[in-house]
């Protein structure tokens, strides 16, 4: 079987145009940046000079592309000379048209002009990619139909062979990129539905709705939700991955992306879309499986760190004095300790044997219970009946989860007193979880403490004091809700840090088992042969990058939007 190409059967037709547009975007982007840097408000003579410089740079760019790529023959996607020529003409035509249209702007302010072209070139790239995807998906069966038509009607192969040929030829038409795109179909549908609904009702959705007013925020939210949906569909329905994450196929060791499986059965996906890793496992499948681990641990660990930080930070800020001094000292102590060293200590088998992670879990997991207990009790202090009802509704399930989480019937476990053990957390994950919560909570503590110090001077806090509210009510119902803006932003950022921290832990081989498909571990495995086979390390690194970037952009968008009103 032929290996898959990156852009499939129709990629070569779009490549020249794409190249031209990308060159245009890069050149104009550089021009705009350079010109904006050299002079923000150019005098007329200087701007004429600049304009000529832009033209010159553009010509150089085009001739570079033309000469560089027209010579590149061979391979699956070599552009025909004619296509090249036409594309260059088209590109220059577009440029000339824009020049004519914005003649005045061009000589007044070349930087702005270059910026405009840059913008349109980027739009153009998007349009070409979308067009390519459309064409590829619409005509993905063309090759198969041709093959069928060419068969001798007398000697028709078996139906099985026909369907197999259909599957393989379809994949060939799509190429690697479009095949990956198709694998993610449920994610795309979910994203489209989510965005459509959210934008429709954005005026009624508070801060979340306002997020859809900011492009940055939308991009960030989209990236984050992409991985969240991926994790959900992989974890719950096993949809997106092409192979089981631990399945090894002989002959696939370190194979490049698009390599066909040797002797693939009908049920098996016939290619390794992103190639095979050093143990002949499918990199694409391991990447999407890795998202499950990250999405499962990072937000939960951050949430726990917030519970700990809030429960300790509020009283430290509100009461101040000796309590504050003591807690802040403790927080600084933890922060001053090198994180990686701390992790090494925590996962050392001897230390695990002493049960330290379990004891830490015993303490750290208790905080959500304290938090919700105090939250409810302070609110309904004056209405005992309601109080007990709510406490029971919230605390009993929480306690069951808590007891199950800290209990482990294993041989080395130190805590196994609770008979109703619903689930067990694998030892490695517990260690990772506990360590992440432990090192994150002091930072949250300091943020919450600072916010509490600020907000407690407000008149509504004084009003609550003068009507005889108890301190915890003031902390949790008067101060905390009004600190939510910075806390939400920090929450998003902190999930990002936690994700990176998980990657770091995986990279050092700490905590999680070595065969785990989490991104840190896979990057570490890929790193070993990076100079010979770069492809195993890149997909998980890219995944990690997009998720963290998405979280940061989301935090930026939230911050920006929460400031506006």
């Amino acid at each position: 079987m032929e290996p898959l190409t990156w852009f499939g059967a129709y990629g070569s037709s779009f490549a020249p145009l794409l190249m031209v547009l990308i060159t245009l975007a890069v050149v104009c982007g550089l021009c705009a940046a350079l010109l904006a840097f050299t002079n923000s408000s150019p005098a007329t003579s200087f701007s004429l000079f600049n304009g000529i410089a832009v033209l010159f740079l553009l010509l150089v760019g085009f001739s570079y592309v033309y000469s560089g790529l027209s010579g590149a023959e061979g391979g699956g996607m070599a552009p025909s000379k004619l296509g090249w020529f036409l594309a260059t003409i088209a590109g220059l035509g577009v440029f000339a048209a824009m020049l004519a249209r914005f003649m005045g702007t061009f000589f007044d302010d070349p930087a702005a002009f270059a910026g405009t072209i840059f913008k349109w070139a980027i739009y153009g790239v998007g349009a070409v990619v979308a067009l390519w995807l459309l064409v590829t998906l619409v005509w993905q069966n063309a090759a198969h139909k041709e093959w069928l038509a060419g068969l001798d009607p007398a000697a028709m192969p078996a139906a099985e062979e026909i369907s197999q040929n259909e599957a393989v030829s379809r994949l060939h038409s799509r190429g690697i990129m479009a095949s990956i795109f198709v694998r993610f179909t449920p994610v795309w549908i979910s994203l489209i539905v989510l965005f459509a609904v959210s934008i429709q009702f954005k005026r009624r959705l508070g801060l979340y709705g306002k997020l859809f007013d900011s492009v940055i925020g939308m991009i960030g939210f989209g990236l984050v939700m992409f991985w969240v949906f991926t994790a959900v569909y992989v974890g719950l329905f096993d949809w997106i991955a092409t192979h089981p994450p631990l399945e090894q196929v002989s002959g696939m060791k370190n194979k490049v992306p698009g390599t066909p499986l040797r002797g693939a059965t009908a049920e098996q996906y016939p290619f390794y879309l992103l190639g095979g890793d050093p143990l002949a496992r499918d990199i694409f499948s391991r990447m999407v499986e890795g998202s499950v681990i990250v999405i499962r641990i990072a937000p939960m660990a951050t949430l726990f760190a917030f519970m700990v930080g809030i429960t300790l930070g509020l009283p430290a800020g509100y009461y101040g004095g000796k309590l504050d001094t003591f807690l802040s000292f403790l927080a600084n102590l933890i922060l001053a300790f090198p994180v990686i060293l701390l992790f090494y200590l925590l996962v050392t088998p001897e230390i695990v044997l002493t049960g330290l992670p379990q004891y830490m879990a015993l303490v750290l997991f208790l905080f959500p219970l304290i938090f919700f207990g105090v939250l409810i009790n302070s609110r309904f202090r004056t209405q005992p009946q309601k109080n007990y009802m709510w406490l029971a509704i919230v605390l009993i399930p929480l306690f069951l989860v808590y007891a199950s989480a800290i209990n482990d019937p294993g041989a080395n476990s130190k805590i196994r007193f609770w008979p109703l053990d619903f689930f067990d957390i694998p030892g490695g994950i517990l260690v990772v979880f506990v360590s992440v919560v432990f090192v994150n909570s002091p930072t949250v503590f300091r943020i919450v403490r600072g916010l509490a110090l600020d907000i407690q001077t407000r008149d509504y806090v004084a009003a609550a004091q003068t009507r005889g509210e108890r301190p915890w009510y003031i902390m949790l119902w008067e101060i905390l809700p009004n600190a939510r803006g910075p806390l939400i932003v920090d929450f998003c950022l902190r999930i990002g840090y936690t994700t990176i921290l998980l990657g770091t832990l995986g990279f050092f081989g700490l905590g999680l088992p070595p065969e785990s498909p989490d991104w840190g571990s896979t990057i570490n495995e890929g790193r070993k042969l990076l100079s010979i086979y770069p492809h195993p390390a890149l997909p998980p690194a890219f995944a990690l990058l997009t998720l963290v970037l998405g979280l940061n952009l989301l935090a930026d968008g939230l911050r920006e939007e929460s400031l506006k009103d």
């Binding site: 408000s41 001094t325 004056t382 008149d459 004084a462 003068t466 005889g468 008067e478």
Partner: protein, 699 residues
């Protein structure tokens, strides 16, 4: 860089200026069709409520409107040159050199990381390129001019080492460094105490004369404008509604808004029972919800449907000489001298039995130098010193004093947020001075409640209005279940005259006055008998102040509440209080009935306070007393009489007694006491500070 010389026309000509801000949703016009001229050496006042666009005009002149603000029409000419056509470089030359601006918050206009001297010297060094030595000399000269003590030390200090008043003087000095032709003052004294404000205003007036600077004085305080300006321009909702000579506008106003504004401020002669204030009905329109035609139409008493709301209303000349203009269609038809329609006169409430008694209350704070190990030298802040008074049912007791006088500490001790160091507080004969609020029973807590100063801070921004009031009811144990409490909450909203629909609104959807009403409703949730109102209206606009004040008075009359009204605004105190207590640095310096306190003999501090309050009435003659210096720190109070450092009567007391001994409390007449060493004979020579002119008195 040179200045534009040899120009004799008006310094600033603003002609039909329109400024808009552009948001994602819409264009918001902030200023429309605004014209004003400032002649050389003239001071023009720009008066209006918050949101009327007066600061936007100032920023427009400085061409500093930010990213989303734009001048959409009209022109601004500075010394005959159109500022619209100036380049960024030319504008930079003019700013700080020809036009200087003084902002409200002095600390925010000074660079906290730079010494005062450096900041001052920068101005001539940048604009005129003078040498460092010369710049230093200039700085020294200007700092001496703004009457700061020890100018050389001032130049060496950092902004945070100075008090608010000193900082504002430095800001003024900085503005004067380059001898500008136009000075824009944007509420320059709002953040300062009254006596400091009086001194700063005095200074600005003198310097204006000395340097021949034209001034654009932006303020919401009519009294202040009367004291400082030659001409006035009243703004309402983005438009100038009346413009003219200050005397003419004050005595012969030709616009209903100006009239309503004057009727809603407590001038001498207003009285809560016989001549109550007239609040302007309705609310200030939001910039994008302005009515057609006259902006003031919906709130105007003279509104005529079909005429006032038909078309854009242009400025009309009153006398035909271009000196006095008004934006009203009906100004010739309105009888401006008609007496105020008599509001219903309310009987004075009977003052009942003593509810609250303070006896020799003391509150000291210990400030340790080292918080962690408790060591080091301890310093004592004497926040309250021998505070004694009684408050009766249905009585309004005003507590007057500037910041740092200990009135907030006193309120905290009364509420139980702090416990007293010494002395007694008796509530209905029971001692509560050592009971912190968590140990007080619900009844006591509900009885003593507080209304706060800042309306934007008094409500929890994350809870609906209704749930905040219901929480208070819940805490005070009122109502058996949520349904009953909700009913009671709606009744409380009726009580403070808010529509019931507000129960489900968030605080950010309410205006300042409405928030303050919710704050009042919350305070009265448990049937409070003593309400401490800590400057409840000082942060509100003039037209809203009257309405909120009246509401408080009305509730007080119906509920027989004892109101402890903390304020520094003597006009409003005179208007609504039965008795007045003047505090200075933790001491009660004078206590008596309102009439006693506002008539001589005064305590020297009361005299200065009275003189400092600007009064927006041209018929009032005020004696001019300016206090030098600032209030001493409570951490380090002067020996002897607390007021001796600023007292102008000090030399009348023989033997330097003021510096040695704290004066004893003396009864002047029944219920009127002062804390002063002055002999009776000296006190008898005091003249009244505020005098109504003869013609007014005869009326």
């Amino acid at each position: 860089m040179s200045k534009i010389h040899d120009y004799s026309g008006p310094i600033l000509e603003i002609d039909k200026l329109s400024i808009s801000f552009f948001t994602r949703l819409r264009e918001i016009p902030a200023v429309m069709d605004f014209s004003v001229k400032v002649a050389p050496g003239e001071a023009v006042g720009l008066v209006g409520e918050s949101g009327c666009g007066k600061s936007t005009v100032a920023l427009g002149v400085m061409r500093d409107l930010g990213k989303n603000g734009r001048i959409v029409g009209g022109s601004i000419k500075f010394k005959g040159r159109d500022m619209e056509r100036m380049s960024a470089d030319e504008l930079r030359d003019i700013r700080g050199n020809e036009i200087a601006m003084i902002y409200q918050e002095p600390m925010a206009s000074l660079n906290p990381a730079m010494r005062i001297g450096k900041q001052l010297m920068e101005v001539p060094m940048i604009h005129e390129g003078v040498s460092e030595h010369e710049a230093y000399q200039r700085a020294l000269e200007v700092v001496t001019d703004v009457k700061l003590p020890d100018p050389e030390r001032m130049l060496r200090s950092f902004p945070h080492q100075l008090s608010g008043g000193q900082q504002q003087r430095i800001v003024i000095a900085m503005a004067l460094m380059s001898k500008p032709s136009l000075l824009i003052l944007d509420e320059p004294t709002t953040a300062l105490d009254v006596t400091v404000e009086a001194a700063v205003v005095e200074l600005v007036k003198d310097l204006g004369k000395k340097y021949g600077t034209s001034m654009l004085f932006i303020s919401h305080n009519l009294g202040l404008v009367l004291e400082t300006c030659d001409r006035i321009c009243v703004m309402y909702s983005g438009e100038a509604v009346e413009r003219g000579d200050i005397e003419t506008v004050f005595n012969n106003m030709q616009h209903p808004y100006t009239q309503a504004l004057f009727r809603s401020i407590p001038l001498p002669g207003a009285d809560k029972n016989s001549r109550p204030l007239v609040a302007i009905p309705g609310n200030f329109p939001l910039p994008h919800e302005r009515p057609p035609g006259c902006n003031f139409g919906p709130r105007c008493d003279y509104f005529e449907a079909g005429r006032c709301d038909a078309d854009f209303v242009p400025m009309a000349d009153v006398n035909g000489d271009g000196e006095h203009e008004t934006r009203c269609l009906k100004f010739r038809e309105i009888d401006w001298n008609a007496p105020i329609a008599k509001a219903e006169q309310k009987g004075k409430a009977e003052v009942g039995k003593v509810v609250l008694k303070m006896d020799n209350l003391k509150k000291y704070y210990e400030v340790a130098a080292n918080a962690l190990f408790g060591g080091g030298e301890k310093r004592v802040v004497k926040a309250n010193e021998t505070l004694s008074f009684e408050a009766r049912e249905s009585e309004t007791l005003a507590i007057v004093g500037e910041s740092g006088c200990g009135k907030s500490t006193f309120a905290k001790v009364l509420m139980g947020l702090e416990t007293a160091t010494d002395g007694e507080i008796l509530l209905d004969g029971q001692n509560i001075e050592h009971t912190p609020i968590e140990n007080r029973d619900t009844k006591t807590v509900a009885d003593v409640q507080m209304v706060f100063q800042n309306p934007f801070d008094t409500l929890n921004p994350s809870m609906t209005v209704g749930s905040q009031i219901m929480r208070a009811l819940d805490i005070f144990g009122i109502g058996a279940n949520d349904a009953e409490r909700r009913q009671r909450m709606l009744e409380l909203l009726d009580l403070v005259k808010l529509p019931r629909a507000f129960a489900d609104r968030m605080p950010r959807q309410l205006s300042g006055g409405q928030k303050q009403r919710v704050g009042i409703a919350r305070a009265f949730a448990g049937g409070a008998r003593i309400v401490v109102a800590d400057e409840p209206v000082s942060a509100l606009d003039v037209s809203v102040q009257a309405a909120v004040t009246d509401l408080l008075m009305e509730i007080q009359r119906n509920e027989k509440t004892t109101l402890l009204f903390i304020s520094h605004d003597l006009s409003i105190v005179r208007y609504l209080s039965d008795r007045v207590m003047v505090m200075y640095l933790g001491h009660v310096v004078e206590l008596g009935s309102t009439d006693d306190v506002f008539a001589p003999p005064y305590h020297p501090y009361t005299e200065a306070l009275l003189s400092a309050v600007p009064i927006a009435d041209t018929n009032v003659e005020k004696k001019h007393i300016v206090l030098e210096g600032d209030i001493p720190s409570a951490m380090n109070p002067p020996p002897g009489c607390p007021f001796q450092t600023r007292c102008r009567w000090k030399d009348r007391v023989p033997g330097g007694l003021c510096e040695k001994e704290v004066p004893p409390v003396r009864q002047l007449t029944e219920g009127h006491q002062i804390k002063c060493h002055l002999a009776d004979a000296e006190l008898a020579t005091m003249e009244p500070v505020i005098k109504l002119a003869e013609n007014k008195a005869a009326e």
